[in-house]
Each structure stands twice: as structure tokens, then as C-alpha cells.
């Protein structure tokens, strides 16, 4: 039986489940399907189990094109956009996995609230994708990661069972914390159909303070001073000269920038000015401020469509940021690739954009990861964007991961053949 023949029979069944318009053939082989409810998702997954087919979830494809996924069925979440609850006075919301970050932002903004995730391409990035990849933007510094404010999740396991974890309230320890298990699992355990979140009051005014330095080391020493101060900024970001050039090609200075974003009254902002001191060379507000943070959020978003660029995401000890950046720059020179760095350096999260004019960026990225692994061993965690395996360094807890995978997706349907 050829792949195409399987697809034809399966396509018919998928159309019965999801409607004729919501299942179609993929040019690369296999099918696309867009279920409109959790029941339909469950039916699709049960069908896949029955026919021994693999399923890859797809949201806004900001981590890579769905066309490149090596799978029998691409399950799009684009029709899962229902609002399950929005309790603005309780600061909670629950939406379908296909809802984009921009849609959610717009909904809560009207009530002066904020969803505290600011990943790349919010107009495309979906809630399901955000959770599956545990993506983060600059707000990760001040508000924590999505694992810290996702309060409930509904999902369909690889086996096709509908279930949930958590709920709708901000404090809840009933049952296992399945949110934690699914967040960052890259769609290998279950398909998230909807999720609930804690919201935050939107800041009434913000300012961004930029301090420029000749070297990464000086910039990170300044970070230390900010971290040791009584300030608690919303964002604390490092931008390398290379990253700055990608964001603002007209910029000529070769400086490392520490960007500090603060919220508060005039008196609070005055205090930031005083504490941040003379190192601050510019202060941004309004459109300029928003534009700069958007550029930081979106850095690397073009990578998915460009074989000459690759992103890797590192989580390192805050103290190791300086040596990791040095090692990455050194290795990139040896490998003949360009490395641009941004990151939430107060908490040790770094994003490296690998650009390679002459060769494939993924080879350059692999070489770089290997160098970092040898140097920093278990003090570093790595995730790769758009890659077949999101975890380029095998997790030391692989056996436990397999046990979890087997419990929820025994036939390895979800992203089967790709990750496990």
C-alpha cells in the first residue's frame, strides 16, 4: 500500500469527521486536517491510531513551515478558536488552541489587562503553539514563563482520549499538574485543544532605558548591578551588535545593549532613572519603544523560511551567560558563521541566531551546540527551532520521558518518527 493510497482512504474518513472543506491532500504527501472541536480532534487521533498513521500538530507555523513536517497527517488548530471563559474581574481567560496571541491581546486589552507572553509574530503564533514550544519573549523576565501562569489545559492524548488538567482558578493543586507536562512537549504527548491563563493588570505607562557597552562582558556586569538593585523591571534584555544590525540595519554602532523596560508612575520611573544611572544613553517611549520591543520579539522569525539562518534557544546559569556568549562567538568564528545574540539575561535565557552565507546554517548550529555542550555539560539546556528534534542534546531524563510518552501516546502517533 503506497502512502498515497493510504491517504486517499484516510482522507475520505477525515472528511466524514471534519467536513469536506476541512481535510485536503498535502502536496508533500499525506493530508491536512482542521478539526473544529475537541471531539473531532479525538476522532482524528483515534483514526490515526487505527491506521498506524502519524500526526503532527500545527498552529501558526512560526517555528517552521508545516509543509516540511514529515508526517502522514498535519493537524491544524486554526478552527479551535472558541473563547471558553473570560472572567476579566477574576483576571482569567480560557481560549481555544488556535487563537492567536494578537487576538487574545486585543480581547483583554479592552479591560486594561495583559496576557504576559510576547512571542515572535503574535499575529500568527497560536496559544497551542506557544504552549507546545514553551516559547517566550522579553516579558519572560518580569512575568515568568507560560508554565507560571497557565492554569488549565484541555487536550486529546496521542491515543485519542479527551482529558484535562488544572482548571479556571489561579490557585489549584487538584490532580497532577498536566499543564507542566504538556508545556514544552512539542506536541509529542497530546494535542492541546484549549487552555486557561492568569492575566495581569496592563501597565499604565512604561519606559525603556538603553545602556550601551563596548563588550558583552561590560554589558553583563551592568546586568549584575541591575539585578542587585531594588528595581524589578518588566524586561531586562541583552542585544548583541549583530542582532542590533538585523533589527535596525541603519545602526552603525558596534555596541552591546542592555534594554531595561519599566512600568509605573512618574515617581517610579524617576527612581529607575536614578538607579540605572549614567550608563543609560537613551530613553524610549511610545511608538519608538513598542517598535524596539517588537523587533526583539520577532528576531529570528524569518529563520523558519531561510536555510541560511537557524535559531537556537539556550537556558544557562545566569553566571554563565558571559562565558557562553564568548564561547559562542569564538566557535562561530571557527565555523565561519555569524552569531547574533539576544536574551533574557537576568534569568539566563539566550537566543542565538546563526547566519551562514556559504553553508547550511543547521550544520553551523549543530557544531555550535556541540561546542557548548562540551564546555558547559549539564549546565546548559538547548532547544532548536524548526528542527526535527527540538532537543538537540539528549535529555538526561530520556527514560522517564519515554515512560510518559508511552502512557499518553503508546503507538507513537504524535510526531512519530520525528522525535522518539
Amino acid at each position: 500500500v503506497s502512502t498515497t493510497e493510504v491517504a486517499t482512504g484516510v482522507l475520505r474518513e477525515l472528511r466524514t469527521i471534519c467536513g469536506d472543506d476541512n481535510a485536503r491532500e498535502r502536496p508533500a504527501g499525506g493530508v491536512y486536517v482542521s478539526p473544529a472541536s475537541a471531539e473531532e480532534v479525538a476522532a482524528v487521533l483515534r483514526l490515526a491510531n487505527e491506521h498506524h498513521l502519524t500526526v503532527a500538530p500545527a498552529g501558526g507555523s512560526t517555528h517552521g513551515s508545516a509543509a516540511l513536517l514529515h508526517t502522514d497527517i498535519v493537524l491544524h488548530t486554526n478552527l479551535l478558536t472558541q473563547v471558553e471563559h473570560y472572567d476579566h474581574a477574576d483576571l482569567t481567560v480560557g481560549v481555544g488552541a488556535g487563537t492567536t496571541i494578537a487576538q487574545l491581546d486585543a480581547m483583554v486589552k479592552a479591560d486594561k489587562l495583559m496576557f504576559a507572553s510576547d512571542p515572535a509574530l503574535p499575529e500568527r503564533c497560536t496559544i497551542g503553539g506557544l504552549l507546545a514550544t514553551a516559547s517566550h519573549g522579553p516579558l519572560r523576565h518580569g512575568y515568568g514563563g507560560v508554565r507560571d501562569y497557565c492554569i488549565g489545559v484541555r487536550f486529546v492524548t496521542g491515543e485519542g482520549r479527551r482529558a484535562k488538567g488544572g482548571g479556571r482558578v489561579v490557585k489549584n493543586v487538584a490532580g497532577y499538574d498536566l499543564m507542566k507536562l504538556l508545556i514544552g512537549s512539542y506536541g509529542t504527548l497530546a494535542l492541546i485543544t484549549s487552555a486557561s491563563f492568569k492575566l495581569f493588570p496592563a501597565p499604565r505607562q512604561t519606559r525603556t532605558f538603553l545602556a550601551e557597552f563596548a563588550t558583552a562582558k561590560e554589558a553583563l556586569e551592568y546586568r549584575d548591578r541591575v539585578m542587585a538593585s531594588p528595581l524589578s523591571p518588566m524586561c531586562l534584555e541583552l542585544v548583541s551588535p549583530g542582532a542590533r544590525k538585523i533589527m535596525r540595519p541603519e545602526m552603525m554602532q558596534d555596541s552591546w545593549v542592555i534594554c531595561v523596560r519599566a512600568a509605573g508612575s512618574d515617581a517610579v520611573l524617576a527612581r529607575y532613572r536614578k538607579e540605572l544611572g549614567l550608563a543609560v544613553s537613551r530613553e524610549l517611549e511610545g511608538e519608538n519603544e513598542r517598535g524596539m520591543w517588537k523587533a526583539i520579539e520577532d528576531l529570528g522569525c524569518e529563520v523558519a523560511a531561510d536555510s541560511h539562518a537557524e535559531m537556537i534557544y539556550l537556558s544557562v546559569w545566569p553566571r554563565d551567560v558571559s562565558p557562553v556568549v564568548d564561547a559562542a562567538l569564538e566557535a562561530s568564528a571557527l565555523e565561519g558563521v555569524d552569531v547574533s545574540v539576544i536574551g533574557r539575561v537576568g534569568i539566563g535565557l539566550l537566543m542565538l541566531r546563526i547566519g551562514a552565507a556559504e553553508r547550511s546554517a543547521s550544520e553551523g548550529a549543530s557544531a555550535l551546540i556541540e561546542t557548548l555542550r562540551q564546555k558547559f555539560a549539564d549546565r546548559i539546556a538547548v532547544k532548536a527551532k524548526g528542527a526535527t528534534n527540538p532537543w538537540p542534546i539528549a535529555s538526561p531524563s530520556l527514560a522517564s520521558m519515554r515512560a510518559v510518552k508511552h502512557a499518553l501516546d503508546p503507538s507513537n502517533v504524535l510526531r512519530g518518527r520525528e522525535v522518539f
Partner: protein, 479 residues
């Protein structure tokens, strides 16, 4: 039931003085701070991870169930031994192994007392944020098992938000390491999964915790209200102002009179309710917020708003809150503490309902709770010597928790499910939800050798109960 030979083997593993098996010693380990009891067959005090692994392997080969125990301050029966079970107590694994101020982390053994962690790093200007009311006694291992909260979790989150790595002894006896000092780990977030799993998937033997920097300024306010309803409405009004206090606690008038009599915190004796509101952060911000909170309180008809003048006054106000449970011991021989959660806008309604339930059952119910996140602790006073009273208490509790669930809330905000609320799980979860959770437990703990009978409802499994000759492990499991 472990035989004398098994007890002898436990002694070989942990040391001759590290195993208890005399009835008078075991009695001390038959209860926690909740209302359930079961005498363990033995108690063992391991001193390192390898000994814990050996104990687990012995449990598998000899066929006895095991439960980990910290200080026994839990309120849901999580650390109560199953019939014929062995308690693995962490009193001798109580060392802080490393303080890494540069990376804002500490690595600790599970027996470290919560308060001791913060005290140890105070000179560095750091602290450990989760602060259960039992923090002077409870252990970080217990906090991890139950995903404990506390008053300040409103701003800082519960235990899982402050743990980045774990060393775990799996039920098989295998030792694994999840996460580390990094903010994020490679692969699944198994650290996050194990925290709050109530000791049912592994025994945690080392914990990497996140430390926070102490805020520059703390303002502690006491809002005094004529009625409990005014106090309850103020909670939502403060949130609507865009202010997230570090803590926002409420005591009803009846409870605060009992507390005042016991600890002289300076609470007003004739108030309907008080709110204890704490604001933390940059001095300028805290002063603005304190002013805004004061205004909101008066708008909601507060009679008076006091502010602690110094650390002594602050400590006194908190002493009243943190010792409130104990203070109620003056009024009745025992109390039953509930842990339901409602969306915070439903606080006025749920308090009214609790009043009706108290009337209906003829019980005295005090309310002292984490108002900011809607986490209630109705305290129902009773006399455990009267079995009829316990029945009434449990019926009243179930009614209150059903109300919470119907309002979109939960049966537990921070105490855990344990033995106490396992049969209420179907209020929140479908059979499929529970099956998924059970399949995850079974992925690590299929034989139920580790903390059997907890968290999962027995009601749906009782049909499978077999005769007295069955494996004690499975029997305790209700299978």
C-alpha cells in the same frame, strides 16, 4: 506487612538507630495535621539518596508500600501510611547542600524546614518565597510533594514556581535527575510534573530551589470592616485597581476574636472582618499602592485602615494570621480545615453560602483565608470523640466544595488531595481525566508500592476489591 526480617534489613540499610518499630514510637507517625490516622508498620530515617533507593528496592522485593514524610504538617493525609506500610521520614536528610547566590539557587535535602531556608540566606538579601502557615515546621520536601502555597503566593506563585530541579528515587529504586539550576530544562518538564504529585510517582531526595531578592519596602495594612461582605467586596475592588498585593488575607470577625484572645495581635474585637494586605517592592511603588489600597478600602466602607509602623507590628499582625488555626484549638477539641477555591469575584457569595451551611448543620465555621486568590479555608470546629459530629463536618465540607466547583473553582488550592479529598476528585474530573492521570502514575508506579491509596478516588475502583489474601500493596490501593 513487613516481617521482623524486613525491619532488620531496613536497619542494615539506614543504621540500627534509624528504624522505629515499637508501637509506642509508631504512634507518633500515625497522623498528620488532618483528621485521618493509620499506624505504620515501621518508620525509617534514611541519610542519603542511595539509602532511599535501597529502601525502595527492598519494598519491591518484600512487597510492602512506602510513604515519604516530612514534618507531618500536611492537611490532606498525604503522609499517612497505608495499611502495613513503611514511613520514610526525612528528619535526617535536612541539610542545605549548596547556596548559589550568584545564580539565585539553593540545593537542599527534603527535610530542610521551609523557614530555615529563608533564614539561611537572609544575610545575602535573599529568601525562599513559598510560605505556608506551617513554615516554621514544614519541610521543603513536603512543600514539593504537595505544591504548597501560603499567603505570599498571590504575587510569587506556589512551590512549583520556585523549583527548577529535583533528584528523584523512582518506585523501581532507580535514581533520576530532572532539571537543574537553569530556568528551563531540555525535554519534558518532569520537575514541574513531580512537584505536587503527592508522593505518588517518586521520592524526592534533592531539590534545587529558586531564591528571590528581598523587596526594598514592605507595607502591611490592616483594613477593618463592619461586615464580612464589605471585606469580601474589597478584594475584587483592589484587583480592579490594577494592584497585585504580595498577600491579601481575610479573617472573619468570629475567627479574629478567637485569634486575638490567643495571641494579642491587636486585632479589633468588634469588627465583622479584617483584611491583611501586604504590598512589596520598590519604595515609590509601595507607597503609591498603599495609598490606593487605603482609598479602595474606604470606598468599600472600611471603618479603619491601619498600617504596621515597624517590623514588630508587622510580625504581630502576621503572627495572628499564621497561628490562627492553632488559636481555634481554644474553642473546640478539633477542627477540620477545608481548602476550596473560587474565582475571587465569588468570595462574597461563597461566604454567604458557608454561613448557610453552618446554620443548616448547626456547626461553627470560621473563615480565615487567602482572599486574593480565592483560596478559602473554612475551619469547622468539632469534637472528634463524637462520631456523629465528624459525619456532619464531612457532609458540610462536601457541600461547600461542591459549591466551589460549581462556581468554576477547585476542591484544593494548596493542601493537596491525599486521602481526604480523593473521593471528591470526580467532582472536578471525568473518568477520562482520571484515567489519563492514572496512566501517568502507572508509568512510574504501576504496582502502587509508593504512597498507594492517595489522590485517586477509591469509589470507582472498589468493584475490583479482592479477598484478604490479596497482595497488601494492591489491597491498600483499593484494587
Amino acid at each position: 506487612m513487613p516481617t521482623p526480617a524486613v525491619v532488620e534489613q531496613l536497619r542494615k540499610i539506614a543504621g540500627r538507630d534509624a528504624v522505629l518499630d515499637r508501637p509506642e514510637d509508631l504512634m507518633l507517625y500515625e497522623y498528620d495535621a488532618g483528621v485521618r490516622k493509620c499506624t505504620p508498620a515501621a518508620v525509617v530515617f534514611p541519610q542519603n539518596t542511595e539509602q532511599v533507593a535501597q529502601i525502595m528496592r527492598l519494598a519491591n522485593s518484600a512487597g510492602f508500600p512506602v510513604v515519604a514524610r516530612g514534618a507531618g504538617t500536611g492537611l490532606s493525609g498525604g503522609a499517612i501510611a497505608p495499611e502495613g506500610g513503611v514511613v520514610v521520614a526525612f528528619a535526617r536528610m535536612n541539610r542545605i547542600l549548596e547556596v548559589d547566590a550568584d545564580n539565585m539557587r539553593a540545593v537542599v535535602q527534603p527535610g530542610v524546614v521551609n523557614q530555615q531556608m529563608s533564614d539561611t540566606v537572609a544575610h545575602l538579601g535573599l529568601y525562599f518565597a513559598p510560605d505556608p502557615s506551617s513554615q516554621k515546621a514544614c519541610t521543603i520536601g513536603g512543600n514539593v510533594a504537595e505544591n504548597s502555597g501560603g499567603p505570599h503566593t498571590l504575587m510569587y506563585g506556589v512551590t512549583v514556581n520556585h523549583v527548577t530541579g529535583l533528584t528523584v528515587v523512582l518506585p523501581s529504586g532507580e535514581v533520576v535527575h530532572f532539571g537543574g539550576k537553569t530556568a528551563e530544562s531540555s525535554g519534558y518538564d518532569l520537575t514541574g510534573f513531580v512537584v505536587g504529585s503527592e508522593g505518588t510517582v517518586g521520592i524526592v531526595t534533592e531539590i534545587t530551589v529558586r531564591l528571590l531578592r528581598r523587596p526594598e519596602r514592605i507595607a502591611t495594612l490592616l483594613g477593618i470592616f463592619e461586615t464580612i461582605d464589605d471585606g469580601a467586596k474589597t478584594v475584587a475592588a483592589i484587583t480592579a485597581e490594577g494592584i497585585t498585593p504580595a498577600a491579601l488575607e481575610m479573617l472573619d470577625g468570629w475567627t479574629l476574636r478567637a485569634v486575638e484572645a490567643a495571641c494579642h495581635a491587636g486585632y479589633p474585637l468588634d469588627a465583622g472582618a479584617v483584611l491583611l494586605i501586604e504590598l512589596e517592592g520598590l519604595a515609590e511603588l509601595v507607597e503609591e499602592q498603599a495609598e490606593a489600597v487605603r482609598t479602595v478600602c474606604f470606598e468599600q466602607r472600611a471603618r479603619e485602615v491601619r498600617r504596621a509602623k515597624d517590623e514588630n507590628e508587622r510580625t504581630l499582625l502576621w503572627k495572628g494570621r499564621k497561628t490562627a488555626f492553632a488559636a481555634l484549638g481554644r474553642l473546640a477539641p478539633s477542627y477540620y480545615s477545608q481548602d476550596g477555591v473560587v474565582p475571587r469575584t465569588r468570595i462574597p457569595a461563597v461566604l454567604e453560602f458557608i454561613g448557610e451551611v453552618a446554620k443548616k448543620y448547626g456547626l461553627r465555621i470560621g473563615n480565615i483565608f487567602h482572599a486574593g486568590d480565592g483560596n478559602l479555608h473554612p475551619l469547622i470546629l468539632f469534637d472528634p470523640r463524637d462520631p456523629r459530629q465528624l459525619e456532619l463536618v464531612q457532609a458540610a465540607s462536601t457541600e461547600i466544595l461542591e459549591w466551589c466547583v460549581n462556581a468554576g473553582g477547585s476542591i484544593t488550592g494548596e493542601h493537596g488531595v491525599g486521602l481526604e479529598k480523593r473521593n471528591l476528585m470526580p467532582l472536578l474530573f471525568t473518568d477520562d481525566d482520571l484515567d489519563v492521570m492514572l496512566s501517568l502514575r502507572n508509568a512510574f508506579n504501576a504496582a502502587g508500592v509508593l504512597n498507594p491509596g492517595k489522590l485517586f478516588p477509591t469509589t470507582r475502583m472498589c468493584r475490583e476489591t479482592t479477598g484478604p489474601s490479596a497482595n497488601p500493596v494492591l489491597q491498600a490501593e483499593g484494587m
